[in-house]
Point group: C2
Chain length 493, copies 2
């Protein structure tokens, strides 16, 4: 099977052995069936062929994502295709694509379809969809992770080279872990949310699933384009110390008291192995106290941010609450109990929590945690949908509240064949160092494979070089290290 990783596709295009139209035919073959419930809308054959045709005759080297197929979480607009957010009654058909989707298409990427999700991106497990529980790419008895469930499985199954998800509390990372993918949760605001159905608009990030960290970085280079129409957009800033390419660096490891695997000893082994690999890559492990981060995570679900989910669909919810998936309705309605005064009180708490958490950056360049403590079967999840979902967010819920960037990296497999992974994170704007380190960490994993395709990861001596540094980012056109001393870390709040 042709691997859809960027290097393979690019080499095939460059050699003339592949055309976009031939790629589309291959995708049509691969996606004829959908046993995992990946899709809400697959693009019709004619539409796919049209995208391919628009690329034929162009120089593959002229477009950074020439002929690269991608999947789109169905809370992100693709012109002319319904956006459902996994709620059929909510569906609308946008005239224009989301800002970020348009950037990708302009760069040569080919949209394949709109993917299943936990309704309104509320969930971390992938079962909360009237389009059916999305099934894990390795074992359909297991959850896919969510809320960007279909986007992850689409890449893992080889239906697309990369995909867009959204990530408010872990929705771009947990499904990566459960499907052996890289999941990058960019710095908030780097990827426009214009044309994205909000979850918690003050916290939402569009995220990227890819087979490799280098592929994710190439997508980021195109997707991170400042959108003046998005009030939460932020221009790409330079990063500081590139701990991902340095011969030595310091990474935080939570002390044992705050590590939580819910009894999954295989998950713990996978995490310990990743720590050892980071050390072998030149990292110095520094024990850190994760409790302020965990306390911040609690704010997200105990506090008023859930009211943003209500605000995002307020009129729809007020008019037709019965149209929501039951668990989604229950969670969304829970936002109604908070007042404005409560909200400000929690915003103050968050400010204090961020101050406390940010102190860690004085001693480490990044932190590594498991991406999720463990994985559950769909049957387990459906039996206890709130608590087990909450368990999955143990290591992810605090990230956006604290304005950090994070990359989920494959960590290998449990004995039963289920993949899990680790997440490395750092303050906003450190996306490139995170992705560079993710590439090395993934490359150091013995017998690493790409998603669920079985294709071995090809370890390149300079994994991220496929995108020249000088073309990374926007609007300045450069994404470069800042001069020494110009990085704000400990008091960046």
């Amino acid at each position: 099977m042709l691997s859809f990783d960027f290097n393979t596709l690019r080499a095939a295009y460059a050699a003339g052995g592949l055309t976009p139209t031939a790629l589309v035919e291959e995708i049509l073959r691969r996606t004829a069936e959908d046993p995992n419930k990946v899709w809400i809308h697959r693009l019709p054959e004619a539409a796919l062929r049209k995208y391919a045709a628009s690329l034929e005759g162009k120089d593959p080297a002229s477009l950074p994502l020439y002929g690269i197929p991608f999947a789109i979480k169905d809370n992100i607009d693709l012109a002319g295709v319904p956006t459902t957010a996994a709620c059929p009654a909510y569906a609308f058909t946008p005239d224009t694509s989301a800002f970020v989707v348009q950037k990708l298409i302009e760069a040569g990427a080919i949209p394949v379809g709109k993917t299943n999700l936990d309704q309104f991106a509320t969930g971390l497990n992938g079962t909360r969809s009237p389009y059916g529980a999305c099934r894990n790419a390795f074992d359909p008895a297991y959850v896919s992770g969510g809320s960007s469930s279909g986007s992850a499985v689409a890449v893992a199954k080889g239906y697309a080279s990369f995909s867009l998800g959204t990530d408010t509390a872990g929705s771009g990372r947990v499904p990566a872990a459960f499907n052996n993918l890289v999941g990058h949760k960019p710095s908030c605001g780097w990827l426009s949310t214009t044309g994205v159905v909000p979850a918690c608009r003050s916290l939402d990030a569009v995220s990227i699933f890819a087979l490799t960290a280098a592929d994710a970085e190439a997508v980021l280079a195109v997707a991170a384009s400042f959108d003046a129409a998005d009030p939460y957009a932020r221009a790409v800033e330079g990063y500081g110390f590139d701990f991902g390419r340095a011969p030595s660096f310091k990474f935080g490891v939570p002390r044992a008291a705050e590590l939580q695997f819910f009894g999954d000893t295989e998950s713990e082994r996978i995490f310990r192995d990743a720590v050892a690999r980071l050390e072998a890559l030149g990292g110095e492990a520094v024990e850190i106290d994760l409790s302020p981060f965990l306390a911040t995570a609690k704010l997200l679900y105990e506090g008023p941010w859930v009211a943003e989910r209500y605000q995002a669909i307020r009129e729809f919810f007020d008019a037709t609450p019965e149209a929501l998936f039951p668990v989604t309705r229950e969670i969304t309605a829970s936002g109604l109990r908070f007042s404005a005064a409560d909200t400000f009180a929690y915003l103050y708490k968050l400010k204090a929590a961020k101050r406390e958490c940010d102190a860690v950056w004085a001693s480490v360049d990044c932190i590594v945690t498991p991406t999720a403590p463990t994985i559950y079967t769909i049957a387990q999840m459906e039996a206890d949908p709130i608590k087990l979902n909450s368990n999955l967010g143990y290591y992810t819920n605090f990230m956006n509240l604290l304005d950090y960037a994070a990359t989920a990296v494959p960590g290998g497999f449990r004995k039963d064949g289920q993949p899990l992974g680790v997440t490395i994170f750092a303050p906003a704007a450190q996306d490139a160092p995170l992705l560079h380190l993710a590439a090395k960490l993934h490359g150091a994993l013995p017998q690493a494979t790409l998603g669920a395709t079985g294709v071995p990861l090809a370890v390149s001596p300079a994994p991220a070089r496929c995108v020249p540094c000088t073309t990374f980012g926007s609007p300045s056109g450069t994404f470069a290290a800042l001069p020494s001393g110009q990085v704000r870390v400990a008091v960046c709040g």
Copy 2:
């Protein structure tokens, strides 16, 4: 009468003609009566003498604020003295001083007393106090401006060299205009709010009243000290282009359609004169559209931020609402009508508004507006307390929401002898350029005088040089211009 401006006091200390104890005796004489209702608590003679005694024998040059007397708005703690926030039932006596007060005392400044204010800093007029309406320093029939009413009048009357106010919506600027003072509203977070009774905690700034801009800058240099215990604290950042010391610069002037004087032609003349002085100082006037700023200002009072005022005193308010001044109670209770969802909806609106307003910084270095459209008598204000108060905030309400720094500068007098002024503002961190330009603008005012003292403003060729640049700010100890290209302006949100 000995002028209390810093240069005069410093010269007197240096020459040996003045001692802190002699200064204290002079203050006791000046403050024996309080016809303007400036004070809530004057420091007892023994306490004042103790502060003075602690300075005797020290080298005046060893402390940046050696023997400089200051007044403190009574929502800011001074150890051992009650803090009332102008609500007797709310009073408590703190064991420690507010962080910023402590910094000033450590720098040699002498606290004189706690000043009257609009209760809980809710108001811009100075009449909303059970300790009596604070009276204008020039004509007691007129309002002092508020909420930092007593702090402004204390400096104008020569009771103190400078004072601390707080400024959430204009409380540090309107009283400056009405009492012929410089009022600096620093970049939010530069002055710690630890030990300050919050108004809207997410927006509050401790502010500085002074007789001259140079004096305000000298206070800022001491007061702007990063407080790790204040979650909203921000370290002092370098500024960009020093438009306040440059031979030419661009300043925005609102187009006529958005200028509002409520029929006060004298106020309009004072504003036009200030614009002409800025042009004479090398400024190029650029007409700007103030409507996005005015729309932002409306958010403050139409939106949920008033709920922060409730949250700040929630338990007290719930237990004893009758303890509040009637108009303050009414305003505070109005915060109860907003939900969490409403709050987030307004936070999104503010994000969009800031994006729109910030676009102006591509074309101007700073903007000048009247500080307040006009002034009212106490009788007028008491007859229509909500509407006329709201009128006073026409040019001030948007500032903290937009994260700008602002300096109110004396603009001369109406024919009836009432002073008014103008405000120059710029994005956060541009405090020094604003104060430098304020010094020049004040110096260019014909027959400029200091507060209500009648003392002529001494125009120094380098007004701000009394504080060496290299000792300005914290925590790095320097407050310097950034290298070219390092200033974030248009997308600083």
